[in-house]
């Protein structure tokens, strides 16, 4: 059991160790203490009298705290240990480890307690790609501490290790020589501080104390609506989602102390435009403050100039921010990188949806400049072909992203025969988001910014876009919308889950919605667990292909929302039931994606292997499905409730839903029979 990966974190500082608490990283291995995208410890090994320890058990106390129970010896055979060791580790600004050794014997013992320490200061990107370092290392043992350093020009990072008890420090770690009385104990506190080489003075690296973290988690859970359901798994799925979402909160200094959801734990603990926005949308009925944090932070980093390397334009919302060495030396464009199309469109969607729930017009006024710039970007910079459609083509050909929509893997956008279209590509859901952004932007312009001229123009543009879209993207003989238009304006004719996002956006003509819904729940797209990213029978369909056949819980939560928007209550309930059934198999924590195999074939959902768990928008999926099933929709100062639940749910109560109405309870009873 020593191999089990244990992860704890606080913001973007996290530790990945084995179940003994030891860290033994190789250049490509992901163990270590990481902070701001840099590894600060690649080696941290505890031994007693030269002997490694074995794990008895691990307590995951909180997401930021773990306790390891250890005994001498690493064998599998039971050892009659005369002593035991407890390591209690808390993350924050590095980590803090309380090391306690208990002597169970009648005799006094003498021990050499050793911690081997080293750091390779790898950038996260280097860990992924196994690249060589360009700077120089230093190990400086001092009387009361060990300083591990790395330097490349002005770039400095250091790890400072110290202890509360007397220790001898050398270049490779520290040693305690101790005696423990019969049935006595000894303990020390170890501090490992991640030094950012001066970046701290800018206040860029806040640390939080354990007490505040505990309090903050409690406050978070207390503030969320309470859920009761006859179908018990839903209660644990709900709680898991709330706790995971708490762990995924990230408080960059630029957000003025507000938190926003990072994309995934631990590798994507950073600002991501798309992921932070979509997760905030999913969580709106439960934790509306996440949306405020997301809108503020992303607004402040909104693009302001043209920069090919970063794929930046004025008004564009960022894709991803990173702080490591490769970003610092511009070997990667993430300072921040803007190569993403949907985030800017969804930014306006989130701002409007946030106002509809919370009535917080102050924020909408504060972000007027950013929202207007985002709306202007749609026509000024995103219409690459001047044909009235949003499309993408990267300007950074070397390290930029090819596909700048949510399906961002290389083969995600293809024709039925599997061939890939050229660039620019205008994927269909981007047109839906652009339509929705304009409609919602018009509402905000009229209501809050008092600009009727802008409102009218946006409404006109939206209506025009909808008319053209329903003509140019509609595949008449298939009865669905093309995945994209290629540079020549040809329809990329595959059937994909993106059709569900179109329903969500409202761009679909009413007359077409029924056949679209039919496809989404039809045998080619619906697996029984959920809607596949790509329909069975398409050239590139593969049930375990990342964006070409797997089922994504987040995708499905928005599809369900879209189905409800067009009145397909039963279909939305079927999607919700499938995804929540899957969640039960994953012990309440939905993965990023799972296999697109037919439900009747596998009986259980097959997980797609991904590095990050939990993933923010998968964590948010059950929340949005709850909203969809209960039919929660703000209407002025009221919350409309129109439940349509699968019969298996029985009775469902969601109490104290926060919003402009104060707090409201929602109830529903399952009446929809789910076939299969």
């Amino acid at each position: 059991m020593n191999d089990r990966e244990v992860k704890i974190l606080d913001g973007n500082t996290f530790v990945v160790s084995d179940s003994r608490g030891d860290i033994e990283a190789s250049p490509t291995d992901a163990a270590g203490l990481f902070s701001f995208d840099t590894r600060f410890l690649s080696r941290w090994i505890l031994s007693l009298n030269g002997e490694r320890l074995g794990a008895l058990s691990v307590d995951d106390l909180q997401y930021f705290e773990t306790r390891f129970f250890l005994v001498p010896g690493t064998g599998t055979v039971y050892i009659d240990a005369k002593l035991s060791v407890i390591r209690r580790r808390t993350v924050g600004g590095g980590f803090h480890e309380e090391l306690t050794i208990l002597n169970h014997d009648d005799e006094r013992i003498e021990l050499t307690v050793r911690l081997d320490a080293a750091s390779d200061f790898a950038d996260l990107f280097e860990v992924k790609d196994a690249l060589k370092k360009k700077g120089t290392y230093s190990n400086r043992p001092e009387r009361r501490r060990l300083v591990l350093g790395y330097e490349r020009e002005t770039f400095r990072r250091e790890t400072v290790i110290s202890a509360s008890e007397r220790a001898t420090f050398d270049e490779n770690g520290l040693t305690f020589t101790i005696r423990i009385q019969p049935h006595g104990s000894w303990s020390t506190e170890l501090h490992v501080v991640a030094g950012m080489g001066g970046l701290e003075s800018a206040g860029a690296t806040g640390t939080r104390r354990r007490l505040t973290m505990e309090q903050s988690l409690k406050r978070w859970l207390d503030a969320a609506p309470r859920l009761r359901c006859d179908w018990e798994p839903l209660e644990s799925i709900y709680r898991r989602s709330l706790v995971d979402l708490a762990a995924l909160r990230f408080t960059p200094e630029v957000a003025g102390g507000k938190s926003l959801p990072a994309a995934g734990l631990p590798w994507f603990m950073t600002m991501f435009g798309r992921d932070s926005i979509l997760t905030s949308l999913q969580a709106l009925p439960f934790a509306p403050e996440l949306a405020a944090g997301t809108l503020s932070a992303l607004g402040e980093w909104q693009g302001s100039s043209l920069d090919d390397f970063r794929d930046e334009d004025p008004g564009r919302i960022l894709h991803e921010m990173r702080y490591g060495e490769m970003t610092a030396f511009e070997e990667r464009p993430h300072s921040p990188y803007y190569g993403c199309v949907d985030a800017t469109l969804l930014y306006v969607v989130l701002l409007d949806e946030y106002e509809r729930w919370t009535g917080d017009r102050k924020l909408v006024r504060e972000l007027e400049y950013e929202a207007r710039a985002a709306l202007a970007w749609i026509d000024d910079y995103a219409d690459l072909q001047g044909n009235g459609y949003v499309s993408y083509k990267r300007r950074n050909e070397k390290t930029g992203l090819e596909n700048q929509c949510w399906k961002d893997s290389w083969d995600s956008i293809s024709f039925r025969d599997g061939t890939l279209p050229g660039f620019p590509r205008a994927t269909c859901e981007l047109q839906g988001y652009a339509y929705d952004a304009k409609v919602r932007g018009a509402r905000l312009a009229r209501l809050v910014w008092k600009d009727a001229v802008l409102a009218e123009r946006l409404e006109q543009e939206a209506a025009d876009l909808k008319r053209r879209f329903n003509r140019d993207f509609w595949i008449e003989d298939g009865g669905y919308f093309a995945l994209a238009l290629d540079p020549e304006g040809r329809q990329v004719d595959t059937l994909a889950s993106n059709n569900g996002h179109l329903l969500w956006s409202g761009i679909v003509d009413k007359s077409k919605a029924k056949t679209v819904a039919g496809h989404l729940l039809g045998p080619r797209l619906f697996s029984g667990w959920g809607v596949r990213t790509l329909a069975e029978g398409e050239g590139r369909y593969n049930p375990i292909g990342y964006h070409v056949g797997t089922v994504w819980p987040f995708d499905n939560s928005f599809i369900a929302w879209g189905l409800r928007r067009y009145g397909f209550k039963e279909e939305a309930a079927r999607v919700a039931a499938g995804i929540l059934d899957a969640a039960e198999f994953f012990e309440g924590r939905l993965p990023e994606a799972f296999g697109g195999y037919e439900r009747s074939l596998t009986k259980y959902p097959v997980q797609y292997p991904t590095a990050c768990s939990p993933q923010a928008w998968s964590t948010g999926a059950p929340l949005l499905l709850l909203r969809t099933m209960l039919g929660l929709e703000p209407h002025d100062d009221d919350l409309i409730i129109d439940a349509a639940l699968p019969s298996t749910m029985g009775r469902l109560e969601l109490l104290d839903i926060p919003g402009r109405w104060g707090r409201i309870d929602a109830f529903g009873r399952g009446r929809i029979e789910i076939p299969g």
Partner: protein
């Protein structure tokens, strides 16, 4: 012939903008410490809800930026990226980071390779 001074040029440009709508939310002072060998040149930018004013000297600031002259020159010409320079430790920032994230909007971008869309004068050719 007088030597061109990109730093003075940038500051003059900022001062002549008067009101900057993208900074309408921002209020505060930023001090630029331009290190030139043993000499340090100090500029102070005052933002009052988007109103910009520039002065020389050592006034109190909410945030201070410090870097060698060559780096500031590159940043003000759009040839170096301020965020990357900060992460590299070449540009030191002390104080209110939130303010400086907004003030970044005053910096020129690099020369972009090509531009399409309405901004580049595309005639709307919608069918």
């Amino acid at each position: 012939m007088a030597r061109t001074d990109p730093i003075a040029d940038f500051m003059d440009g900022v001062a002549s903008r008067g009101h900057e709508p993208s900074l309408a939310k921002a209020t505060g002072t930023v001090r630029f410490e331009v290190v030139d060998g043993r000499r340090t040149e100090r500029w102070v930018l005052t933002v009052t809800r988007g109103e910009l004013a520039v002065s020389r000297g050592n006034a109190h600031a909410d945030v201070t930026l410090r870097a060698p002259r060559a780096l500031f020159e590159q940043i003000f010409r759009g040839k170096a990226n301020a965020t990357a320079a900060f992460l590299r430790g070449a540009l030191q920032i002390e104080g209110d980071v939130q303010l400086i994230v907004l003030v970044q909007r005053l910096l020129p971008g690099p020369r972009a390779s090509r531009r399409k869309g309405r901004a580049a004068g595309w005639a709307a050719s919608r069918r």
